[in-house]
């Protein structure tokens, strides 16, 4: 049983991690494409439309992969976690079904219209369809984050006689305070993925001296929206999420920070490796009293360490939790630094003459994907050993009759298939980027080539 549990957890972890590469990009790009379309409608300048069309292609590839890798997620609640689904389906089935009925239909209908219907719809309706796509994908994000938020912080339910969870307040479920913070934090992360992707492609075009006008637009939009998102990511949303944890998931907070002993004026660890058996942080680099201040706004406040909680309530992989949290926060800080510098130079009109910053923007492309993934690992590993925090242990939720062998079989199947999908995705996106934006790509490419030859 223990063996099967591990495989089922790995199964979900792998498929959801791979899946989330795509929604974070499409949710971010959906906002940016909507902004590009709005600017096109407002200025009447075709370059904004050309930009939107270019990003719509990358959006389309990512969206398709997001959809096909998303379907297994909804199925897995039943296939691999049937005991959990049976008990909690009456509550989280609400948000999952609403996601299907409200947002998936909205997204997919208007994506079809957006990709296929520019000529049939005309500029105004085409703009509307970009807005609907944006709304659909962001609504979808809300409902799925709420589903997770209920597992992190269950609200609006009571336990029935047969042990299943019954909803007793729809609005409590829908306005779960944990969910509101988590949603804001998640979406800002997705926006940064979109912004960095757009800015990185723009920087690449400027540095490689092709599609320069588009490159400048991409960098400008990416950096401008990105710096706003990066700041809001830290405060208030990151801070709000942290306070939620301080209130409801104290063992998790202590493990994230690598705080083994309870202390007044607790420090924040910047670096260091948790040594769980010895219950200490090796090679620590800390800021004294900072954790107390951030958590309770008092430099001398006492923060509970892991020693305050029985080991049975400790997250079961403290090292992974500690590192993923630190990677997320570290990268988030780097994003603020890069984007703030880039925004400053953009404001002064010097960004496009600053190769170092452009290089930094270009090379940052993979980082927001890593940061978002690390953030979700923090949330989900942090929830352990609970499936529903404080209520249901992870081991209690697994499908009792699906053997480790069956789970291995399908896990390997997904590993193989997703490896190939990942390679295809990179190949196709690379092709679109090489192909470049513009009204007529072939002639534009030819013009660039001729210009290059003339140089």
């Amino acid at each position: 049983m223990e063996d099967a549990l591990t495989i089922h957890r790995l199964h979900f972890a792998f498929t959801v991690t791979f899946h989330y590469i795509f929604p974070q990009l499409t949710m971010g790009l959906a906002l940016l494409i909507f902004i590009l379309k709005s600017l096109a409608l407002r200025t009447g300048n075709e370059i904004w439309n050309d930009s939107a069309r270019f990003w719509a292609k990358i959006f389309g590839i990512s969206f398709a992969l997001g959809v096909v890798t998303g379907i297994p997620m909804e199925f897995q609640f039943g296939t691999n976690w049937s005991q959990f689904s049976k008990s909690a389906g009456g509550v989280i089935g609400q948000t999952l079904a609403m996601e299907g009925v409200f947002s998936f239909f909205l997204e997919s209908s208007f994506l079809g219209l957006f990709l296929f219907g520019e000529k049939r719809l005309g500029p105004r309706l085409h703009w509307v369809s970009s807005m609907m796509m944006f709304l659909g994908s962001w609504l979808s994000g809300y409902l799925i984050v709420l589903t997770d938020a209920w597992m992190q912080h269950p609200v609006g339910y009571h336990l029935a006689a047969n042990g299943s969870y019954e909803l007793n307040s729809f609005w409590a479920l829908l306005l779960n305070p944990w969910g509101l913070w988590q949603y804001a934090h998640t979406m800002l992360g997705a926006v940064q993925t979109g912004c960095f992707t757009m800015a990185a492609v723009g920087a690449y075009y400027i540095l490689s001296k092709q599609h320069d006008a588009f490159g400048r637009i991409f960098v400008r939009v990416g950096v401008t929206v990105g710096i706003i998102a990066a700041c809001l990511q830290l405060f208030p949303t990151g801070d709000g999420q942290g306070k939620m944890m301080a209130q409801y998931q104290r063992p998790t907070l202590a493990a994230m920070e690598g705080l083994f002993q309870t202390q007044a004026g607790a420090p924040i660890a910047i670096l260091g490796q948790p040594d769980v058996p010895k219950q200490r942080l090796d090679n620590p680099l800390t800021i004294p009293s900072a954790l107390s201040f951030l958590t309770y706004q008092k430099w001398t406040a006492t923060v509970q360490g892991l020693d305050q909680f029985p080991q049975s309530e400790w997250p079961d992989n403290i090292a992974l939790l500690y590192f993923s949290y630190h990677i997320m926060v570290g990268l988030g800080t780097i994003f603020i630094a890069i984007l703030a510098l880039a925004a400053l130079q953009l404001f002064r009109g010097k960004l496009f003459q600053s190769p170092i910053l452009l290089w930094a923007l270009m090379l940052s492309l993979p980082l927001p994907f890593i940061a978002n993934t690390a953030g979700w690992i923090t949330a989900e590993v942090g929830r352990q050993p609970w499936l529903i925090y404080g209520m249901m242990r992870t081991r209690a939720g697994v499908s009792p009759l699906v053997s480790a062998g069956s789970a291995w079989f399908t896990l390997l199947g997904f590993l193989g298939m997703y490896t190939i999908l990942g390679m295809l995705f990179l190949f196709l996106v690379y092709r679109e980027i090489e192909h470049g934006p513009g009204p007529d790509n072939s002639s534009a490419a030819l013009a660039t080539a001729t210009a290059a030859a003339a140089d």
Partner: protein, 350 residues
Amino acid sequence: MGTIWFCLVAIMIAGYVVLDGFDIGVGILHLYLARTDDERRVLIRSIGPVWDANEVWLLAAGGTLYFAFPALYAASFSGFYLPLMMVLWLLILRGVSLEFRSHVGGHIWSVFWDAVFSLASILLAIFFGAALGNVARGVPLNAAGNFFEPLWTNFQPTGQTGILDWYTTLIGVTALAVLALHGAAWLTWRTTDDLRDRAHAAASLLWWLVAALTIIVTFTSFRLMPFGLLSFRVHPFGFIFPMLAIAGLLAVKLFLRTGQEAAAFAASCAYIVGMLTSVTFTLYPNVLPATTGLANNLTVANAKAADYGLKIGLVWWLIGMTLVAIYTTFTYTRFAGKIRPSDPDDHASY
């Protein structure tokens, strides 16, 4: 409240089969009907703007099932673990082949994705049919409401059953024929010239196959599951469902002959809805019959979620599905009309 949601889930599933059914049908016939690259692009363009939304019906139906009947969702999804995972892989392959096919020019690339698209569509139709066969036949539920079926055992529909036995395979083949006919009717309606004529000829031929299989399936089903007739005896109004199927099937033939293409497609929809509702009607009040004794049957009453949630759900479901109806209608009217090879591509990559 349970019965209302039983009907709503049935509607969602029927909606899925009717809508995604025609684009799966197009996939089944893809390699056979469309001979040149231009024709294949027309075929794919006929479903391009809608297949994704059609597939959402599966997600929405799954979500609705999850929320309204958690115990059924948990039992069936974990019990049908292996075939469902394969369905997922097929859906992935089918989705990416549609999306990727047109991104790279070049013969080898598109030939490969065409084959993947068609093969995945064929297998999906068979798997979905076999799944329906399993639900109708019943599964070895234990007292805790769980089961696990291997892919096959000795191919007998009694005793230690597997996902595939001769009965469920028969239903799978029937589903393949029905969806192929459905796809052919769609293409007859939406394409022109040679392609339309070939689709029309295929539809006329497939009709005979579907008619024969319908008769065989009906008789074997009642032979294996004689209690299915009981529902009709208790609620005679239920005859309306098989009548709808028969009328739909006959109308398909009639309209194909008179060349009323849209009507033929609509009749094919009616036939599918009639067949599915007949099956669900004979199941009621069971949602998943057990082969291990009546006491283990999952029923509307013992599988449903609590009433409070179901009542709230009714409100948002009605609002949500009204919206869905509005934008589905909008999409289909925007993309109405025949698709010609000479039409300009709106979307550069298709």
